[in-house]
Each structure stands twice: as structure tokens, then as C-alpha cells.
Symmetry: C2
Subunit: 274 residues, 2 copies
């Protein structure tokens, strides 16, 4: 792979997607980006060398953790090397001249539809219709040529498709952010400088096992910023743990913290550090 | 409200949905059930007295926690009083006589589509199309009358719509289970008998605050079966915690455990106990 003939970063969705905005924030405004239909295709693009990096949505303030995001990060051998947050600000996108009162169907990603529940409650004549992504919904609407159909997406998606913005800020909550991780094929390395780490492990079936791990981290001035237990595939309702950790820049580095904690877990792996 | 003229339980989806199967497991096989188009409508049905109880999908072994499930449980004032697990076994449902080789589109809930990635990889000519629920996708396919369109759903959904099963067991992993909670409008009460509790709280910004809570639970022979930090709406990337706890039947009851732990948290609330 040479980076000169490849893409700088892959993202899921179409041009105008919020993920594209995150990719530019993480890769520079002029970077060549590769849109991918699914998260899996995005990981494939990095594995094959078509793209140097990938941009993975990990959690949203309203919808919570993105389903399968940590699972893909665990399974597909990429490491998180950075992150950014993008404010989600949905507009209603339709055909120029279309009247919101005459709309019958509005397409978008199910999470975006769910973030605009008040809009649909106030317009009961409009049917929400799921689509794979926000910007792709705008494509479908504009190709379809039906003025009774609109989409929920970003303002940029509207501009890119020469579509009209029929209503602004239609999400229920103004504070709507998604956090994205920048992924690289490098082996995850918790260097001396990094202050954030993402780790996964399972625990022995002993009372207090998780408490002991967290106690050990606290004693090393490392703070949990996110914790989740995750079902283990093929072992229904046994759990793996996923932790995101901020360390004190004046405290011990992760190169000391993680080797201290690893023996208290089963198979601690570092999914990212930056 | 009298239960004699109401529904025993509300569930999200249409007849033939996996949620309907869970509702029967939790309410008895002859129970009158109310299908609801969305999770929100299901909570409304209990609030208005139309249904006595509701059945909430909470997590799946492959897809993880159901987005918004804990949020609804927290916000809508119902309490979990029981749970069940349903094995998810997807079949490909289409028009009688349809050939899988001639299919062009397959509709289902996005989570179900995602659980059948190997099927779509092996049939690249078939486009996966998102729908609001599995059984609803079967309705759409059978009403549509197009033999090139099929759905992914349960075997029961196929039977109910006099549709044909074109392929069986098409999910990637045989061990595919969803856990459902039974919800009632009763105030959540952690009685002396219950051995499982679902609690939510936030924590002071102090190092080790979560470790201390888990340590206190372990000392009382209470074991964490699930833990999640959840973003707090309107306070981006501040976190609330959600814990599911099994206690030792021979140890202290939740009526002792929870009052001991509550002062270590901010606003501990009991979302369910059974």
C-alpha cells in the first residue's frame, strides 16, 4: 500500500454524512475520503490498503453507544489513534418549492428519525421511513422526484444535492453530539505520552473482580470515562468489559498502568491509545 | 382501568414479532396482547391503562443493548418486575414459489439485517432494505405482491401471513438471544424476596467513586451482571451509570443493600426488582 494512490480515510455513508465531517476534522479539510456503504466495508477498505484510516462513530449523546462499534473495533484489528466530536444538527431536506404541510413521507437513518420525535408528533400525517444513512436518504428523495417525500440530514447533504432546506434544527434536543474514533492499522500501542486508552477484557467469576480493577486504576490516578459490559458472542449472557480511561498527565503513564492491571483481568487488550 | 376490558401486555411490533413471543412467555400463552408500532407507543398504552404491562427488549447477544431501552425505562415511570429470554432464529420469508436466486430485495429490521451479514455476502445480488420490524416486513412483502422481494423474520411471522419459508437459520450465529423485561406501572420496590435489581445513578466527580460503589456491593455479596455508563441528555459526555445486580439469596436483601449504597451515589433510583 502506498498512501499516495489511496484514500486518506474511509467513512460510512455518502458525501454530506456527519461521518464525512468527522473524517475531515480528523484528516484535514483537503483529505481524499472514501465513502463506504456499511461500517464493515469501511474496515475492509483499510484492511485492503485502499484507505489509510477509518472514522468510526462510537456514541451519541441521545442514542448512546453505536451498536456493533466496539465489536468491530475488537474484531477487526484496527487501533483508535484519535477522536473528535461532531454536533448533529438536522434539517428537513426536500424538493425546491415543496411544502412541509404537503409531505407524506420522511426518510432517514433510524437513529436520526428517533432524534426528531417531536417533529413527527407535531406532523402526524408524515410517515417516518427508515433508510441506511442520512445523506443517502437525500439521494433517494432527490432521485425519486416526488415532492411529497423529504429526508432528515445535515445542511451539507442538502447543499450537495441542490435540495431545499424545508425546516431547520428539527431534532428534539439541541445538545446532540456524536463522538468518532480515528482508526489506523497500526498495532495498538499505549505510549508514554497518551492520556486516553480504550481497553477490553473479561473477568474471572469472582465477587468484586470488577471493583478491584477499578480500584487499581483509581489508585494510579486513571479515571473511567466510559464503561460497558458486552455480551460475548456464542456465550449468551457472559460478559466482556469495555473501558475508556483518562489518566492524569502528571501521574503514571499507560505503559505502567496497564501492565499493573492486566493480571487482574483475563485477556486485557488495548483497542486504542492517544 | 380494569384489567378485564384491557390488554394484558403491550409489545412493539406486529403479530409474529419476537417481542410477541416474549410477551406470551411473560404473560401466559392465552393473554390478550396489544401490538404497538413503536416502543414509545407501548409505554403510552400502559400509561393510559389500555394495557396492564409492557414487554421491553433490553439487549441482544449479537447487537448489544437496545438503543433507548434503558432511557425509556428511566424516563417513563414503569418498573421491571420480571424478565425472559427468547432465542432469535431468522428465516427468509417470501411469496410461495419464489426462488431465492431470483430475489432482488430483502426487508427487515436493521438489527436483523445486520445479524444475517453472511447471507447477504453470499447473495450480493440481493439488496438489504431496512424496515421498522421483522413481522412488519413480512406484511409489506406479502401486501406488495412482488415475488422478487422477501423478508427476514421469525417462522411464526411466515405462518401468520401464509408466506413461504425460502431459507432457514440464516443468521450468522446460532446463539442469538434477546432478553426482555416485563414492565408494570407499579412503583419500583426492591422487596425482601427479589434477587435481581436494576438501578441507575450518577456519581460525584471523584477518582474511584465507581470503584467504591462496586466494592460496597461486592462486600454485600451482590454481583454486577451488567454495567453501562450512559450519556446524560443536555450534558454532553457526562455520564450516568446503569447497573444490573444479582444478590446472593443467602446474603442481605436489596432492602438492606440499596440503602447502604445510595449515599455513595447521586440520585440512585431503582428501575426494577424481581
Amino acid at each position: 500500500m502506498t498512501s499516495s494512490d489511496g484514500y486518506e480515510a474511509a467513512y460510512q455513508g455518502e458525501p454530506g454524512a456527519y461521518s464525512e465531517e468527522a473524517a475531515w476534522a480528523l484528516s484535514g479539510a483537503g483529505a481524499q475520503l472514501l465513502p463506504c456503504p456499511t461500517l464493515g466495508a469501511m474496515f475492509d477498505a483499510v484492511a485492503s490498503g485502499r484507505a489509510r484510516r477509518a472514522v468510526l462513530p462510537i456514541e451519541n449523546t441521545l442514542a448512546g453507544t453505536v451498536p456493533r462499534a466496539y465489536e468491530l473495533l475488537t474484531d477487526r484489528g484496527l487501533a483508535a489513534i484519535g477522536e473528535t466530536r461532531v454536533q448533529i444538527d438536522h434539517v428537513l431536506v426536500g424538493h425546491p418549492g415543496a411544502s412541509p404541510a404537503a409531505l407524506r413521507r420522511v426518510l432517514s437513518h433510524p437513529v436520526a428519525l428517533d432524534q426528531c420525535r417531536r417533529f413527527f408528533a407535531a406532523h402526524p400525517h408524515i410517515e417516518p421511513v427508515p433508510a441506511f444513512d442520512t445523506a443517502g436518504a437525500v439521494s433517494l428523495v432527490m432521485e425519486g422526484g416526488d415532492a411529497g417525500t423529504a429526508a432528515i440530514a445535515s445542511r451539507r447533504a442538502a447543499t450537495l444535492h441542490a435540495a431545499a432546506v424545508l425546516a431547520e434544527h428539527i431534532q428534539d434536543h439541541a445538545e446532540n453530539w456524536t463522538r468518532f474514533l480515528l482508526l489506523a492499522p497500526a498495532a495498538p500501542a499505549a505510549g508514554v505520552e497518551g492520556t486516553h486508552a480504550i481497553v477490553a477484557f473479561t473477568l474471572p467469576h469472582e465477587p468484586g473482580a470488577l471493583a478491584n480493577v477499578l480500584q487499581a486504576l483509581a489508585a494510579r490516578r486513571a479515571n473511567i470515562t466510559k464503561i460497558e459490559s458486552r455480551p460475548i458472542e456464542g456465550q449468551p449472557f457472559e460478559y466482556a468489559f469495555l473501558l475508556e480511561i483518562d489518566r492524569d498527565p502528571a501521574g503514571p503513564p499507560f505503559t505502567e498502568i496497564l501492565p499493573d492491571v492486566a493480571p487482574m483481568t483475563i485477556g486485557l487488550s488495548v483497542l486504542g491509545a492517544y
